[in-house]
Structures are given as structure tokens and as C-alpha cells.
């Protein structure tokens, strides 16, 4: 009888948390570090993927490049792959474009170099010093 009574008392004390000392019954997990939220990106323009010429890498180029500026700026260029590559670096360094994985960068550069190479030709033909 006494053992049963003692058991009830123990249970009650346990439920009241008196047996565990001052430690709280439950510690919530630590709050996640608040993420720095970038300035919300406005829908940049009325351009659509189809405003760029069709080709492999069109979507990657469109979504990477037109996050900031419109397609008109892209279509007006006529650059070698080397100069497109330099341009890509400028976008990353000067204009803080988010990093792009190497495979995707290669796909975008292939697309840009194929679709928007130098088109203006000098009167005397291609420069002999350019390979």
C-alpha cells in the first residue's frame, strides 16, 4: 500500500517537473539565422524567351541575363566568344550577377557566341591578325 502511495507521489512529482531540477522541460531548437533578403527583383521588362533567336542555351541565356537588363542590349552586340567571356566576367564582378555554374556558363557563352558574333565587316575583309 505504502509502495503504491509512494509511486503515486513520485509520479506526481515527476509530472510537476520537480525531479529534474531547474532544466526546462523542453528547449526549442535554435532559431535559423535570418536570411539576407535581396531587394525584390522587379519583373525586368516585357521581353520573352522567344525574343531571343532559337538555339541551344537560349533559355539559360534568357533567364541569366534578363534578370537585370532587357534582350535588346544582348541582340545589339557582335562579339567573339573571347569578348563574350570577358563580358560575362564584367557582369559577375561589376554588376554583381549571381554566380553561374561552369557548365551553364559554357552553354550560355556558346549560345551568345553563335547567335551574336561580329557581323559588321570591314571593307578590307576580316582582320588578318584575328584568328
Amino acid at each position: 500500500m505504502i509502495a503504491l502511495g509512494a509511486a503515486f507521489i513520485l509520479l506526481a512529482a515527476d509530472r510537476a517537473g520537480n525531479l529534474r531540477g531547474k532544466a526546462p522541460a523542453w528547449t526549442p531548437p535554435p532559431k535559423a539565422e535570418p536570411r539576407v533578403v535581396e531587394a525584390p527583383r522587379q519583373p525586368p521588362h516585357h521581353d520573352k524567351v522567344e525574343d531571343l533567336p532559337d538555339g541551344k542555351g537560349r533559355e539559360a541565356a534568357f533567364y541569366t541575363c534578363t534578370a537585370c537588363h532587357g534582350v535588346a542590349l544582348i541582340k545589339a552586340q557582335g562579339l567573339t566568344r573571347e569578348l563574350w567571356d570577358n563580358t560575362f566576367d564584367t557582369m559577375l564582378e561589376k554588376y554583381r550577377m549571381p554566380p553561374v555554374k561552369p557548365a551553364e556558363r559554357a552553354e550560355i557563352l556558346d549560345y551568345l557566341a553563335e547567335q551574336f558574333p561580329p557581323r559588321r565587316r570591314a571593307r578590307s575583309g576580316d582582320n588578318p591578325f584575328l584568328k
Binding site: A39, H45, C68, H69, A76, N86, Y95, P118, A122, F129
Partner: protein
């Protein structure tokens, strides 16, 4: 086009105070709807603006065709627009807009525009504003950037205070050698805590009496598209120095190094490089005084003439220098005839030239103009000193006409 976007487009030119404009601002400018068969350049559809040629709608870049540059004083609706980022909000209270002058000065200034206008002598000049990349489209092969013809330029009337007076009031230290300008333009990504572009100039150009902190364009408050409520005007040098929506001028003890100052930006090679090559940004000179340029504004390119006698006219300019002569050719440069060149309205204004030429027959002709400045520099026949960013393209360009009778 919906009512909201029409209203906000109107504010870009009229400058009516509106709250929440930034959120509602059109992120692209509605372009003239081309019929399916139509080709040719996209034209600007913006209230208060002429049909400028749109080179890009984000950022907004629109140039003035040569035939729309015919006025002696460029009207506001015909002035080119060149943004680097997004439009900021139209200020609710222009006179309360604060401008800061700090750095190598004895007494840094933070002054409201209304006080600036009252405290310093107001001056009005007709001053050239020209994009640093004007003429870029003439490079072969293509150089990187907006493909301007000659229309990234205009010569309206500006009212403001002399930057020199404001710098003197702040008291320049002996260490002061350069300025760095900051405007309220959000970046294309919408950031307001980082500049899209921040350029500056040597102090002697800052102290030149025609370099202004300007608040009126052609006698009216600056429209939002042109930098409301206040901007810098640095006439004759690259337009990016004429910072719109001006917030701060940092007086520095060394060459400014904000975005747009280093690398290939606004620099041309000291030794000519192979056109189309990568270039090396180590041996370059900063573009300062813009090179000599001329445009025939009448007749227009593509005009059909009723006779063989042509009374042509145009404008010429040359950065810090006056234009000394303009010559006209109708035979691809074999022979030249001197045009009459008027004096500028004031230093750094463009100059009107006029000439009468007699075409030898009916038929197709190209009319060329070639200007020479007071230092003896003449326009080349092809864009020269190729550089990856395409600065300094100032060749002779044609107006093509058909004489029919």
C-alpha cells in the same frame, strides 16, 4: 496600355509628385507596336518625348535621330535618354532634396536643394550633353555596349549653380584632386544601397565655371527622366559625369574608383590595338574631352529632293574646344567645300553650320560633313582607335539623298 502605366510614364516627363511611383513604374517602356511586316528601329512611346530610337528599354536608352537635332536649342522632348539603372521615385518635395559635399573639404556641406538655389548665384547656359559611347555603332567589328549612331547628344539650356561656387564654400583642401559623384538611381536589380555607376573628374574640370549643379532644363524643373530634381552637368565630357538624381559629391585625394572608372570603362588605348581583339586595360587613357563631331540635321537621311540645289545645315561640337571649320563633300571625300560655321552661344554649346551645295545631276548622293576643332583635330573617315567598349567613335557620317528633279 493600362491607365496606371500611362500615368506613371507621364510623370517621368512632367515631374508631378506621386507616391508609390517606383512600384508602379513601367519596367519597360511600351514601344510602338510594329505591324508584322514593319522593320526598322523601335521608337520611343513616352508622353512628352519625341519618337526617339530605342536602343534598349531596360535600362532605358533612346537616341535622337539626326533630323530631330535640327533645333538651335535642343527641346526637352528631343533630348536623348540614357539610364544605367532604374528610375528612382519622383521626389515629393524637390526643394527638400538633400545634397552632400564631403571628403577633402574643410567644411562638408549637406544642403537642401531650395537652399542651394537661394544661396548660390544661378546661371543659365546652353551646354552639350553627350553620352561617352556616342558613335559606338561606327566601330568595325562591333564594340561592346549601346550601339549609338550620333544621337546620344543634345544641346539644351540648363539652369543651375556653379559647382565651383559650392566647392569653394566647402573649402577645398590642398589634397583635393578629384570628384566622385553619386546619384539616387537604383541598380537594375533594385538595390538602392549600391551605385550602378559612380564617376568623377579632375578638379580643374569641376572648377570650370560652366560645370553646374543644375535644376532646370529649358527653363522648367528637371523632369524625372533627366535627373529630377537636381543633377550635375559637366559639358563636353562623357555624359556619365553629369550624374542624374544627384545625392553626393565626394571630393577625393586621388582618382575616383567608383563603378565605371576602372578597366576598359571610358578609356581608350594609348597605343592602337587590333580591332576585335581582347585588349589590355593596363595602358589606357581616361576619356575626358569628347572628340570633334558633326551631324547634318537637314536634309534628313533618306530625303527626296525636288531640285539639285541643297541648303543644308547641322551642328558640330568638340568637347572642351570650339569647332574651327566644317567641310562638306558630295563625292565621297574627293572634293570639299567650306561650310559657314557660327560661333557657339557660349563655351561648350554646339555650333550651327550651313552650306549650299549644287548636285551635279539628279540621282543618289551621299552628303558628308567633316569638322575640325580649334586644336586642329579633324574627324577621321572611319571610327579609329578601336577599343572593346567602343569609346571615341567620331567618323564622318553620311546623309543619303535622292535628287529627283
Amino acid at each position: 496600355m493600362d491607365k496606371a502605366s500611362t500615368t506613371t510614364r507621364r510623370t517621368l516627363l512632367k515631374g508631378t509628385a506621386m507616391t508609390g511611383v517606383a512600384a508602379a513604374l513601367p519596367t519597360g517602356v511600351a514601344l510602338a507596336q510594329a505591324t508584322p511586316a514593319a522593320k526598322g528601329p523601335k521608337l520611343l512611346e513616352m508622353e512628352g518625348k519625341a519618337k526617339l530610337v530605342v536602343l534598349g528599354d531596360r535600362p532605358l536608352v533612346a537616341e535622337t535621330p539626326a533630323s530631330l537635332l535640327d533645333d538651335d536649342v535642343t527641346p526637352t522632348d528631343k533630348l536623348f535618354v540614357r539610364n544605367n539603372g532604374q528610375f528612382p521615385e519622383m521626389p515629393a518635395d524637390a526643394k527638400a532634396w538633400k545634397i552632400k559635399i564631403d571628403g577633402e573639404v574643410n567644411a562638408p556641406i549637406e544642403i537642401a536643394l531650395g537652399d542651394l538655389m537661394a544661396k548660390f548665384e544661378n546661371v543659365t547656359y546652353q551646354l552639350m550633353l553627350e553620352c561617352g559611347g556616342n558613335g559606338r555603332s561606327y566601330f568595325t567589328p562591333e564594340a561592346r555596349g549601346n550601339q549609338w549612331t550620333n544621337g546620344g547628344a543634345g544641346c539644351p539650356q540648363w539652369t543651375g549653380v556653379r559647382l565651383a561656387d559650392v566647392l569653394k564654400a566647402a573649402g577645398l583642401k590642398s589634397s583635393a584632386v578629384y570628384t566622385g559623384h553619386y546619384g539616387a538611381e537604383p541598380t537594375l536589380a533594385g538595390e538602392t544601397d549600391k551605385p550602378t555607376i559612380s564617376r568623377g573628374m579632375r578638379l580643374d574640370k569641376a572648377m570650370e565655371p560652366h560645370t553646374l549643379i543644375a535644376f532646370k532644363l529649358n527653363g522648367k524643373d528637371l523632369p524625372l527622366a533627366h535627373g529630377a530634381p537636381v543633377r550635375v552637368i559637366v559639358p563636353g565630357w562623357a555624359g556619365s559625369l553629369s550624374t542624374k538624381w544627384l545625392k553626393r559629391i565626394w571630393v577625393r585625394d586621388k582618382e575616383h574608383d567608383g563603378p565605371g572608372m576602372g578597366g576598359f570603362s571610358y578609356r581608350t588605348p594609348r597605343k592602337p590595338i587590333v580591332p576585335g581583339s581582347k585588349g589590355d586595360d593596363k595602358d589606357m587613357a581616361i576619356l575626358e574631352s569628347m572628340p570633334v563631331r558633326s551631324v547634318i540635321t537637314f536634309p534628313a537621311d533618306g530625303a527626296k529632293l525636288a531640285g539639285r540645289k541643297v541648303d543644308l545645315r547641322g551642328h558640330a561640337w568638340a568637347g572642351d574646344h570650339e569647332v574651327k571649320s566644317v567641310e562638306i563633300s558630295i563625292d565621297h571625300g574627293v572634293t570639299w567645300k567650306a561650310a559657314k560655321v557660327n560661333a557657339p552661344a557660349n563655351k561648350f554649346a554646339w555650333q550651327r553650320f550651313t552650306a549650299t551645295v549644287e548636285l551635279p545631276s539628279t540621282g543618289y548622293y551621299e552628303v558628308w560633313s567633316r569638322a575640325t576643332d580649334a586644336t586642329g583635330k579633324t574627324q577621321p573617315f572611319a571610327a579609329s582607335n578601336w577599343n572593346p567598349q567602343g569609346y571615341g567613335g567620331n567618323p564622318v557620317t553620311p546623309v543619303r539623298v535622292l535628287a529627283e528633279a
